[in-house]
C-alpha cells in the first residue's frame, strides 16, 4: 500500500491557499449530476451534507438516529477553539497550530493542523451568521474562555451546550437543503457495507432499521462522518449507539486504519457506581478552571471530604505541575488520577475517584458566580449522584471519551480507497496522539464546512467515473454479505446477551489497553479477544427477526465489529513501544513518570491494512516531518 499524504510543501502559511488553487473544480452545471453519499449527520457529516448541497451536488445523508439532530456531537459541552484573538491576549493562527501539534505530542501532520487553525476563524463567522447563540459580553461582542490547558482565551461557547448549538446550526442548514430537495435524508438507516467498483468507492449497503430491508445506494463518492469508537470500552462518554461499524466495514474493504491505539481518556467524568451502569457522564473540563483536584494524603482515608483538614490533602496536580496546576493536559491529568487511585488514595465507594473541590472558588467568587459559570453542570451532577457539589466536593474519574485514531486520510481527507472520504472523529487527522479540549468541534466543522467542499471536486473531475447501478455484481455481493452476517447473528440462539459480551470486552480493553498499557497486558488481551469473539459467535442470543425494528440485532452487529477492532487497537498499542499522548506505555517513561516519546523510531503514522480474516494486519508507515514546530518533551511543570 502506497501512502501519499498529498500534503503540499513550502511555507506552511500558504500551503492551503496553494492547494486550493491546484485543486480542480467541477463545472457548476455538472455538480447536480454527481450523487454524494454522506454517512453520519453530526458536526462533520451535517455540515458537509448541507454545504455540498448548497454547492449543487445531489446529496444522500444517512444516520441511525431518528433525526439528524441527535448525532452525538450534540453532547459536547465546553466549547470550540478558534484563533480569533478577540481577547488581545497573544493568540494567532500560528499559536493555535503550535499548541495543537504540541498537545498532540508531535504525532500529527503539520500541514493539516495549520489548515485547521486557519479555517477555525471562518467557523465562528459561519456559526454566528447561522444564529448560534454564543455567549456574549455586555458590549455585545463574543465572550471567550480559556480551556483545557490553553494559556490564551480562544474558546467560544454557548453555556455548557456548545456542541448542541453548533449541531443545531448545521442541522438547520441541512434541513433547509432537505426541504429544497437537494439532500435526501435517510434517518433510522445504518450503513453496513461499502461497495467498490474498479477500486473506487461507488456506494453503500444499508439496513432500514424500521423494516429491516437491506438496500443499496450508488454514488460517485462516499463520505464517512460516523464518529469515533470509544464504545469499544463499553463504558464511555459516547452515546449508546455510537459505533465503529461504518469505518470498520470500510477498513475491511481496503481503507487503512491509522493509529487505532490513540484513545483519549477524559479526566473529568462521574465515577462508575455499579455493574448495571450503561454510560459514563462527562463533566465539562471547564470545571477545572475553578475546581481544585485532590485526594487524601493517607491511603484508605475514608473520612468524609469536609472532615479532612487542609494539611492532610494532596492537591497532586498543583504539586506535580506547578505552572499548569489543575489545567494540565487531559492525558496527563487522567494518568495522575489513575496513579493516586492505584496507590490506594482514591475516594468514593469504589476507590476509583478523586475530588474536584469548589470550596475555594466559592469563598473567593461567591456561590452566585460559580452558579452562573457551572450551574447546569452542578445540577446534572446532583441529579446523577444525589450529592450537592456546592457543599461537598465532586468526585470524578477518567473515562474513554474520544478516539484520535481512525481511517487514514490524505490532506484532501480521502482514505486509501479512491472516492472514500472520512471526516471528523472518524478520521485520524489533526489531533495526533492527544486532542486538546474544544478542538473536536473545530475539526468536525472545519472538515465539513471548509475542507471537503474544496477537495471533493478535485477527485470527481478526474476520477473517470462510469455510471453504476445497484444490479451490478459488486452491489449484489455486498448485499449478500450483509444478509449473511445478519442471519448468522440471529441464528446463533445462544445463552448470553449482546451486552454481556460487550461488557466483557470493555473491561478487558479498559484494563489492558486503557490509560496505561504494557507488553504483557496487551499480549494477554490479544489472547483473550479472539476467545470472546469466538464465544460471541457461538453463544450470543439475539431475539426477534431481521424484518422489524430490532435494537438487539443492531447492537449485535456493532459489538461484533468492536470485537474485531479491539484486536487491531491492541496490535497497534503493542507495536508502539513508546509513550505518546493518550498512549502511555509503562515501559517508556521518564524518571519522574511522564510519557517518554521515541521520536527516532516512532515519528510516523501507523496505517494498518486489512489482510483477511485470519491474517495479521499489515503495517504501513507515513513518516511525520516537523519543519515548523521543534520536537521537544512536552512539559506542564
Amino acid at each position: 500500500m502506497q501512502l501519499d499524504s498529498k500534503s503540499p510543501t513550502g511555507p506552511i502559511e500558504t500551503r492551503w491557499d496553494r492547494q486550493r488553487f491546484n485543486l480542480k473544480l467541477v463545472n457548476p452545471a455538472n455538480k447536480r449530476k454527481h450523487t454524494i453519499i454522506v454517512v453520519g449527520s453530526g458536526l462533520a457529516g451535517g455540515s458537509a451534507a448541507a454545504t455540498l448541497a448548497e454547492l449543487g451536488y445531489n446529496v444522500k445523508c444517512f444516520c441511525f438516529q431518528d433525526s439528524p439532530r441527535r448525532a452525538h456531537s450534540i453532547a459536547a459541552q465546553g466549547g470550540i477553539n478558534a484563533a480569533k484573538n478577540y481577547q488581545n491576549d497573544g493568540d494567532s493562527v500560528y499559536r493555535l497550530f503550535y499548541d495543537t501539534v504540541k498537545g498532540g505530542d508531535y504525532r500529527s501532520r503539520e500541514a493539516n493542523v495549520y489548515r485547521l487553525a486557519q479555517v477555525s476563524v471562518n467557523i465562528i463567522d459561519q456559526c454566528v451568521a447561522q444564529g448560534v447563540p454564543f455567549a456574549r459580553e455586555y458590549g455585545g461582542l463574543l465572550a471567550n474562555r480559556s480551556f483545557g490547558g490553553a494559556l490564551v482565551s480562544r474558546t467560544f461557547y454557548a453555556r455548557g451546550q456548545t456542541g448542541q448549538q453548533l449541531l443545531l446550526g448545521a442541522y438547520q442548514a441541512l434541513e433547509k437543503q432537505i426541504a429544497r430537495g437537494a439532500v435526501t435524508m435517510y434517518p433510522r438507516t445504518e450503513m453496513l457495507d461499502l461497495v467498490l467498483i474498479n477500486g473506487q468507492a461507488r456506494g453503500i449497503v444499508v439496513r432500514n432499521l424500521l423494516t429491516g430491508k437491506v438496500e443499496s445506494h450508488p454514488a460517485d463518492a462516499v463520505i464517512l462522518a460516523t464518529g469515533g469508537y470509544s464504545n469499544v470500552f463499553y463504558l464511555s462518554t459516547n452515546a449508546r449507539g455510537s459505533n465503529a461499524t461504518a469505518i470498520w466495514r470500510a477498513h475491511k474493504r481496503g481503507a487503512a486504519f491509522a493509529n487505532p491505539c490513540y484513545t483519549q481518556i477524559h479526566p473529568t467524568c462521574i465515577p462508575v457506581s455499579g455493574d448495571y451502569q450503561s454510560k459514563l457522564t462527562l463533566m465539562s473540563e471547564s470545571l477545572r478552571n475553578d475546581g481544585r483536584v485532590w485526594v487524601p494524603k493517607q491511603k484508605g482515608d475514608r473520612r468524609p471530604p469536609n472532615n479532612i483538614p487542609e494539611s492532610e490533602r494532596d492537591y497532586y496536580l498543583e504539586r506535580k505541575y506547578p505552572s499548569f496546576g489543575n489545567l494540565a493536559a487531559r492525558d496527563v491529568t487522567s494518568r495522575a488520577a489513575k496513579e493516586v487511585c492505584d496507590e490506594g488514595r482514591g475516594v468514593g465507594e469504589t476507590g476509583r475517584g478523586v475530588y474536584l473541590d469548589f470550596a475555594d472558588a466559592i469563598r473567593r467568587l461567591g456561590e452566585k458566580t460559580i452558579a452562573e459559570r457551572y450551574g447546569n453542570l452542578f445540577e446534572m451532577y446532583e441529579r446523577i449522584t444525589d450529592e450537592n457539589p456546592y457543599k461537598v466536593p465532586m468526585r470524578i474519574y477518567p473515562a474513554p471519551h474520544y478516539t484520535m485514531g481512525g481511517l487514514w486520510v490524505d490532506y484532501n481527507l480521502m482514505t486509501t480507497v479512491p472516492g472514500l472520504y472520512a471526516l471528523g472523529e472518524a478520521n485520524f487527522s489533526d489531533h495526533g496522539a492527544n486532542r486538546l479540549g474544544a478542538s473536536a468541534l473545530m475539526q468536525g466543522l472545519a472538515d465539513g464546512y471548509f475542507v471537503i467542499p474544496y477537495t471533493l471536486g478535485d477527485y470527481l473531475s478526474q476520477a473517470g467515473l462510469h455510471a453504476v447501478n445497484t444490479d451490478m455484481p459488486e452491489f449484489k455481493e455486498a448485499e449478500r454479505a450483509v444478509a449473511e452476517r445478519t442471519s448468522k447473528l440471529l441464528g446463533v440462539s445462544g445463552k448470553r446477551t449482546v451486552d454481556s459480551f460487550h461488557r466483557e470486552l470493555g473491561h478487558l480493553m479498559w484494563d489492558k489497553c486503557g490509560m496505561a498499557r504494557n507488553d504483557a497486558g496487551l499480549r494477554e488481551a490479544l489472547g483473550k479477544i479472539p476467545q470472546i469473539r469466538e464465544e460471541f459467535h457461538a453463544n450470543v442470543n439475539v431475539p426477534g427477526s431481521d424484518a422489524e425494528l430490532n435494537q438487539g440485532l443492531e447492537k449485535a452487529g456493532r459489538v461484533s465489529d468492536f470485537l474485531e477492532l479491539a484486536e487491531l487497537m491492541c496490535v497497534d498499542a503493542l507495536h508502539r513501544t513508546e509513550s505518546c499522548g493518550g498512549h502511555f506505555r509503562e515501559e517508556s517513561q521518564t524518571p519522574d513518570g511522564e510519557a517518554l516519546r521515541d521520536d527516532e523510531h516512532f515519528a510516523y503514522v501507523a496505517a494498518w491494512e486489512y489482510a483477511g480474516p485470519n491474517a495479521a494486519p499489515i503495517l504501513n508507515k507515513e513518516p511525520l516531518e516537523f519543519e515548523n514546530v521543534k520536537l521537544s518533551q512536552r512539559s506542564y511543570k
Binding site: 452525538h72 463567522d125 444564529g131 456574549r136 463574543l142 453555556r159 455499579g274 448495571y276 425494528l549
Partner: protein, 259 residues
Amino acid sequence: MDLTLHVWRQASPDTEGKLETYEAKGVSPDMSFLEMLDVVNEKLITDGNRPIAFDHDCREGICGSCGMMINGVAHGPMKATATCQLHMRSFQDGDEIVIEPWRARAFPVIKDLVVNRSALDRVIQAGGYITINTGGAQDANDIPVAKTLADEAMDAAACIGCGACVAACPNASASLFTGAKITHLGRLPQGQPERDRRAVAMVDQMDLEGFGNCTIFGECQEACPKEISIDVIMQMNRDYVKAMARGAGGERATRTGGA
C-alpha cells in the same frame, strides 16, 4: 428495591398494543430509569422473550432521543429532567410504574415505546433556520448582540426536540417546540430578514402535521426537560399575527412550492 412495571407493548404500527406487567427486582436507587429498563430487558432476553423497544442514545439529557410517559407524566416525576437522567431514587420500594409511549396523532407508535417524531423535523424544514450558505459570513464580531438578547435566544435554543411538550399537552400541540425555534432565531439580529416568513411557514407546517392548537394549559413547560417557558408561544403568536398583518401570508404559496 422491587417494582412492578406495566409497560406498553405494541409489535408494530398496525397492530394493537396493550400493557404487559413485569417485575423489576433488586433495583438500585442509583440506577437511571433507562438502566432499570436495561436490566429488565436483559432478563427478558435471557428468558427467551422480546425486549422492550425504546429510543435512547446519549443518556445525558441532551440528544432528545428518549422519552416516555411514566405514570402519566412525560419524562416522569422529576422536574427539568429527561427520562435518561431520571434516577430510581425518585421511586419507592414496591411502587407500580406505568410506562407508555408519547401519545399524539402526529407521533405514530412504531413499536412499544418508540414513536415517529419526524413531524418535528418537517416543522424545522419549513423555516427553522437562517438562510446563509457556507462561506459568505462577515466577521463574527461585526454583528454585536446584546447579552440579554443572546441569553434569551439561548434559553429558547436549549430545546432538545424530545417531544415531551407534545405528549404532555391535552391538545397534542407542538407550540412550545415551534415557538422555541421562532424565539431563538427571532431574538437575534441575524434572524430578522426571514422573521415574518419563518413564523408563518413554521406555524402552518405545525398545523399540517396534525398537531393540535395551543390553549395555554401550560403542561408543556412543566414537562420540558429544559424548562423552556411558554413565553415562547406568546412570542410565536405575536410574530405570526404581525407577519400576517404585514402580508407574509403570501409566503405560504412560495413555501409549499419550494418544499
